[in-house]
Amino acid sequence: MSFASVTIIMACLIIMGSVTLLSFNIDALIKNLEDRNEVVAFVDDAVTDEAEARALQPELEALDNIMSVEFISRDEAMENFMSKYDSSLREGIDPTVFRHRFVVHLNDIAQMAETKSAMEGVVGIAKVKAHLEYAKAFVTVRNIVSVVSLVLTIILVFVSIFIMSNTIKLTTFGRREEIAIMKMVGATNSFIRLPFVVEGLVLGLLGGSLAFLAEWGLYALITRRVMGTVSNSILSESFFTLIPFKTLALPVLVVFLGIGVFVGVFGGVNAIRNYLKV
């Protein structure tokens, strides 16, 4: 049963792993985009003193769902503005038209609306600008991606157990007679099952480790290709980055071995279940 079973465990794990890694990357990409979706809190005009405005920072940081708060003074704001637009627009603009402001990043943009109102509640903050509609779209896309990959993974686990059982069943057919004899001389079911459990365990570990190596190679190859294309295109690398395999290696290995062992043992035990009924 060995070669076919290992191959099947490997194939299923690689498909499963690839789908999951793809979804992780899409997720990370979206997260990356989300982080650019900043919330800007404008300090009240009445607060002109920079030190007084800066003093609001701890108050904002104390709110829920805040990842980072960055203070931008009115002078800095004007400089930013100036560098973006040409000189014709700069005429007659004086720093006082700009307000002191905080650029805020959130932990979870799904709760952007609540955080926005909380920020508006802080005394000294006049107005908060946030792109609620973008936030909603990002959250929706992320949810769809995680649901799809979860469903696919579950389906694949079942499919691989099914294929695995049938493969082992085919190859253990020859041992049917042997099992019947064992039962007739009084072997217990657990005694008969033991070698199949051990075999399934070994095959699962083998299939899991081989699949891990294959996944690693595949991932490295694809990452290199994709990044090669990206760096030649308009997309900047800082915006479009893939998760390096290193950071995923341990969880991938653990999950692959876990699923490999589960499928191997369960498949092995399931395959001989019918023979044990005599």
């Binding site: 004899i181 009084g186 072997a187 005694f191």
Partner: protein, 230 residues
Amino acid sequence: MINMFNVTEVYDSSGTVALDGIDLQIEEGEFVFLVGPSGSGKTTLMKLITGEVRATDGTVVVNDFDMTKIKRRKLPKMRRTLGVVFQDYRLIDNMTVYDNVAFAMRVVGAPNREIRKRVPYVLDLVGLKGCEKRLPNELSGGEQQRVAIARALVNSPRMLVADEPTGNLDPVRSLELMLLFEKINEMGTTVLVVTHEKELVNALAKRVVTIDNGHVISDEMGGYFGDDSE
């Protein structure tokens, strides 16, 4: 020891009534032939004893185990009190004679020291001394059946049951085998043999139970009285 009271067996799949109100008592140490025409229910009765089939109705007690109530988990314990021999030997082809017999002891967790002592003794008993290293397909049918009998005996069962053990053998081998069963019986094991061999049954002059159409139609000492027109 077998006690059957009013045993009925109906096969769900076909609705066939294979056994219909069987009463049968076999005491410890007896030698019994079970005869009857084809399809009369002999194999079904043997399967009730081995626990392969459960009685639809009635009581079946084998070696003090109530087979109508026994839990699946307890079947191995019950089967260790029983030696079973089949018409087609059922040896494992890629194991030597020695291993085919030793296998039965390993399966029940016997210590190696005991296996090394017991297997040669049993092979000697069935007349297969010196054949330890051979494979089943290097043996004659009669010899293969002796290996199967050695395997059935190796765990010292209280009772030996055999369903047409001589079905594939010529008359001389068949007689030799029946004499082996007699010897085993004389050493203290209860023996129940299903057979169609009229002459052998008459020659051995044991208790003969005849069934037909799921009923016991005669149960007498000494000869083959049933009408076994096969």
